[in-house]
Each structure stands twice: as structure tokens, then as C-alpha cells.
């Protein structure tokens, strides 16, 4: 046997005991939590600062740099918003828009998921339909709006359809891309394990498309709103789009801004719902640097 020189490890007298090491871990957990909280506080304060700066800028620019008639100002907008809430105008119109967006977004997403699922199963059908789908995708959706009004009148139907169409294509395309990006080796391993076709789809292919589906669901939140608002602009007598349109016809700039703010709030709320869904469904993902 060969010889090797071995040096004894010298332990300092105060080797931490198990209890000390546990305390060390707890301290580190607490430190990390505090560091995260500090960062969050920083970010929120910057956001608020920026918001205040913007509001002040708006307030002082209006009437000096830009015509007050066109720019309004934050105080008038707040007043208009308050008035809309007070006399029920806001809720009367918002309710209508909310229904349009909810139905359009929900139905558009569900139909897109089902269609993408079906086309990923029936690949030949997909190849046949591909150019037609691309052609439809290429049409600017706004161009369809007048047609929808002509065909379906002034009620809710054309708005459901517009909002749904705005959502459908994005979710459909992204889901299809996600379904096709499934790792072939995952599929192969599952097949050797005896997975049947429907098991492959349900347990391997569909789950691997979730990241794409969620991305699409995030992108399409404002799209659903755009669809509904466009419909209300073109024709209708109710909804936030209608409210904005009629305020602008009366040169009521503050009213226009109040309507826009209502839209903003709804979109932000929907976006945080998607974030919640994402947190729930994507726990298995390694956290990325871009995570908020």
C-alpha cells in the first residue's frame, strides 16, 4: 500500500452545535425574506414616485404646454370618475363591457384550446387547414368589426365575437406551438412504458404546452378588451367604449380619461388573475431571473 501524508483537521474550540446550525439556517431564511421585502418596498416606492411625477407633470403641463381642452387634468379626471360612479353611469356601462370581455375571453380561450388540441391529434387535418388558418390570422381583426355589426346587429353578440376572435388566434397559435414543442424523447420513453395514445396526449403532450398557454392567456387579456371596445365604438349604446365615444363627441376630455382609467383597472385586475393562475400551475418550473 502506498503511503500518503495526512494532515489532521484542526477544529476551533467553538464548533457550532446542531442547535447553532439550525439557528444559522433560520437566520438565513429570515435574512433572505427581509432582503426580498426590501426589494419589494423599493420597487413599490419607485412605482408610486413615478405615478406621482406623471400626475404632477400632467397637472402642470395641462393649460400651459398643451391645451386644457384636449389634455384635461388629473383633478378633473378624478372628478369625472367620481361623478360616473355617483350617478351609476360607470357601473351601468362597465357591467356591459365586463360581460363582453368575460364571454369573449373565456370562450375564445376554451375554443382555441380545444381546436389546437384537435389539430395536434389530427395532423393531416392540420396540414390541410394550415394555409386557411394563416390567411385568417393575417387579416387585421379590426377590419372584421364592421362585418360583425352588419351581421349580428347592435347587441352583445358582435362584441362577444370580436373579443373572442381577438383572443382565439393568439391562444390557438401559441397552444399549437406548445403542443408541437413536446420533447420527442419524453414521448418515446412514455411509449416504451406502455402509454396509450390518449394517455400520451393527456399526461405528456398537453401538460408540456401549459407554459405557452399561460403566456398566450396573458397576452390576450388586453386583446379581449380591445375587441369589446372596438365593437362598442362602432355601434352600440352601452359599454365603456360607448361611454368614451360619447364623451369625446362632447369634447368631455375628462370623461374620456375616466373611461380609459376604468378599462385600465379591469385589465390590471384580469392580469393579476392570470398571474395567480400561473403561480398555481407553474410551480414546477425553475424560477427565472425575469420573475417578478
Amino acid at each position: 500500500m502506498a503511503e500518503i501524508q495526512t494532515e489532521p483537521v484542526t477544529l476551533l474550540p467553538s464548533v457550532p452545535l446542531d442547535a447553532d446550525e439550525e439557528r444559522l439556517q433560520l437566520r438565513e431564511v429570515e435574512r433572505t425574506r427581509q432582503a426580498q421585502r426590501r426589494t419589494l418596498i423599493w420597487i413599490v416606492s419607485w412605482r408610486l414616485t413615478l405615478l406621482v411625477v406623471l400626475l404632477f407633470g400632467w397637472y402642470f403641463a395641462s393649460g400651459h404646454i398643451v391645451d386644457r381642452l384636449f389634455a384635461s387634468n388629473p383633478i378633473d379626471v378624478a372628478k369625472a370618475f367620481g361623478d360616473y360612479i355617483g350617478d351609476g353611469t360607470l357601473w351601468y356601462n362597465l357591467r356591459y363591457t365586463l360581460i363582453e370581455v368575460a364571454v369573449g375571453y373565456g370562450a375564445g380561450t376554451v375554443i382555441a384550446l380545444v381546436a389546437a388540441g384537435l389539430l395536434s391529434i389530427f395532423t393531416t387535418a392540420h396540414r390541410v387547414l394550415h394555409p386557411f388558418l394563416m390567411a385568417l390570422y393575417a387579416v387585421p381583426k379590426i377590419a372584421i368589426a364592421p362585418l360583425m355589426i352588419m351581421w349580428f346587429g347592435l347587441g352583445l353578440t358582435p362584441k362577444f365575437l370580436l373579443s373572442g376572435i381577438f383572443v382565439f388566434f393568439v391562444v390557438f397559435m401559441n397552444t399549437l406551438a406548445g403542443l408541437r414543442s413536446v420533447s420527442p424523447s419524453l414521448i418515446n420513453v412514455a411509449r416504451v412504458m406502455g402509454a396509450r395514445r390518449h394517455q400520451l396526449l393527456l399526461k405528456v403532450v398537453f401538460p408540456s404546452a401549459t407554459p405557452n398557454v399561460l403566456t398566450a392567456m396573458r397576452i390576450t387579456v388586453p386583446e379581449a378588451m380591445v375587441g369589446a371596445i372596438v365593437g362598442e365604438f362602432i355601434a352600440g349604446n352601452r359599454g365603456i367604449g360607448y361611454l368614451i365615444n360619447s364623451a369625446s363627441n362632447q369634447y368631455n376630455t375628462a370623461g374620456v380619461f375616466a373611461g380609459i382609467i376604468a378599462i385600465l383597472i379591469v385589465v390590471l385586475l384580469m392580469d393579476s388573475l392570470v398571474t395567480l393562475l400561473e403561480r398555481r400551475l407553474m410551480r414546477w418550473r425553475p424560477p427565472s431571473a425575469a420573475d417578478r
Binding site: S185, R191, V192, M193, G194, K203, R283, W284
Partner: protein, 277 residues
């Protein structure tokens, strides 16, 4: 699958032993972008029940292709492969299949990943979790049941994927460079563990590697492939007695002899393969 095993259990003819593999004049031609490539040429080989056979050769020589034909994932261009008395035609569900990637489903916890093959067979949740749990303990992964794959080290993921394969008791296990991406120490530990799990199981293992040391340490027989188109160059019996100690096997004289002998064979093919690229 069950029919096969039932036949074996009923003391069917040795030829019907589902642990036996027979490769007869196998050819594989790949066609991609209008070009054809002869990847495997005239491979004939008999693998006996319970044997540990390793395919060794320069990378790109067709080892994975042969293995994938045995798994039924690649079609056989010409010739035939049999498991027991049954020709391998479609996907072969009578084998375990482990590749370089761990192929765990990233959205499932380790426990649900290991239990996955039982889930596919319709085994109830309670039972499959219990069995997966037990197996995880036996490969040293107790306590990590609820971790997602990205939270585990490469070695742990590989252990998980081996556990998943062992959970359903297939007569043959195909392993395609399973320890390739691991660091040297983890590799040794897993080689040792593989031998421990395999010994006495009676399973046949077909193992692919381009690492000569690993091949000698593990195998009963080593099949050396020529560079493309892959064909069998020579077959060697590794007569180092079992149980083997993968940590110290290098120190034996027999190992050194075998290494020198096989390296001479292998080097020739590696040089040829290199000259081509």
C-alpha cells in the same frame, strides 16, 4: 406483454424466455432530406437471459440505433430482432428504457414521476405511491418525494429515472449512455448501485457507452462496433469475477490487460471515425 411473461412463468421453452434477445442480420437505413445513410450493417447477436451486454464504439457508429430498434422506437430496415420467441415490430413495452436524459416529466414531483408507469397501467393512487415510495427509499432518495425534477441534482434525477424503470418489473433493460452527463464520482456511485440492483434480479441489461472503463467494470460481454456503418467488430467476454467493486476494479491486473486489449481494438475505430469528420 403479460402473455409473454405468463408463458415464461409457466416454464415455457427456453427459446421463449422474454429475457433473451436475438438480433439477426439487422440493417438500418436512415433517410433524411432525400439522402440515405446506412447506419447499421448486418448486426447479428444472441443475448442470453440475465446477461449484461455492452455496446461499445465511437460516437455516431449506430449503437443507439440498434438499441432503439430493440425498443421498437426505430423501424428495422432489414433483418429481425426477437425478444423471447416474439419478433419486435411496434413499440416494445416488454423492456425498460433509460437514456442519457433522465426524461422525468418536469411538471410532476419525483414521487409521481416514479409512479408514472403504474399510473399508465391503471394502478390505484394509494398503491402506486406506496410502491414508488419504497423504491425511492431503496435508491437513497427518501425525503425528496415531493421535489420537482429541476430541484434535484443530475445524479438524483438519474436515480429517479432508474427507479421508475425498475418499478415495473420488465425482463430486459436497455440503457443508452445512462451515466453520460454525470460527474465522475456520481458515475461511479451509480455504476455500483446499478450492479447492486441488477445482481440476482435475473434481468438482461443491454448497455450502451463509449467509455471503455465503464464497459469493463459492468459487463459480462462487450460488443465493439465499427465506425459508420455500424457493424460488430468483435465480441469479448469479461471474465472478472462478480461481485465487482467498481471503485477498485482498476487496480486488478486482469482489468489492465483487458483494457489494453480492448483499447487497441477501439482506438482503430475511433481513429477511423475521427478521420471522417
Amino acid at each position: 406483454m403479460t402473455a409473454l411473461r405468463r408463458a415464461a412463468a409457466a416454464g415455457g421453452a427456453p427459446a421463449g424466455d422474454p429475457r433473451r434477445l436475438t438480433l439477426e442480420r439487422l440493417y438500418k437505413v436512415y433517410v433524411s432530406r432525400g439522402e440515405s445513410l446506412l447506419a447499421v450493417r448486418d448486426v447479428s447477436l444472441k443475448i442470453e437471459p440475465g446477461e449484461f451486454v455492452t455496446f461499445l464504439g465511437p460516437s455516431g457508429c449506430g449503437k443507439s440505433t440498434v438499441l432503439n430498434m430493440l425498443a421498437g422506437l426505430e423501424s428495422i430496415t432489414d433483418g429481425s430482432a426477437h425478444q423471447g420467441g416474439r419478433p419486435i415490430t411496434g413499440v416494445n413495452t416488454d423492456v425498460g428504457y433509460i437514456t442519457q436524459d433522465d426524461n422525468l416529466l418536469p411538471w410532476r414531483t419525483l414521487l409521481d414521476n416514479v409512479a408514472f408507469p403504474l399510473e399508465l397501467r391503471g394502478v390505484g393512487k394509494g398503491e402506486r405511491r406506496e410502491r414508488a415510495h419504497e423504491l425511492l427509499r431503496s435508491v437513497g432518495l427518501a425525503g425528496f418525494e415531493s421535489a420537482y425534477p429541476h430541484e434535484l441534482s443530475g445524479g438524483m434525477r438519474k436515480r429517479g429515472s432508474i427507479a421508475r424503470t425498475l418499478l415495473v418489473d420488465e425482463p430486459v433493460i436497455l440503457m443508452d449512455e445512462p451515466f453520460g452527463p454525470l460527474d465522475a464520482q456520481t458515475r461511479l456511485l451509480l455504476q455500483d448501485e446499478l450492479l447492486r440492483l441488477w445482481s440476482g434480479s435475473g434481468k438482461t441489461i443491454v448497455f450502451v457507452t463509449h467509455d471503455l472503463v465503464e464497459a469493463i467494470a459492468l459487463s459480462d460481454r462487450i460488443v465493439i462496433f465499427t465506425s459508420t456503418p455500424g457493424t460488430i467488430k468483435s465480441i469479448h467476454t469479461i471474465d472478472i469475477p462478480r461481485p465487482r467493486d467498481v471503485f477498485h476494479i482498476y487496480e486488478t491486473d486482469r482489468f489492465t490487460e483487458l483494457f489494453d486489449l480492448l483499447w487497441a481494438e477501439l482506438r482503430e475505430e475511433i481513429t477511423k471515425a475521427r478521420a471522417r469528420h
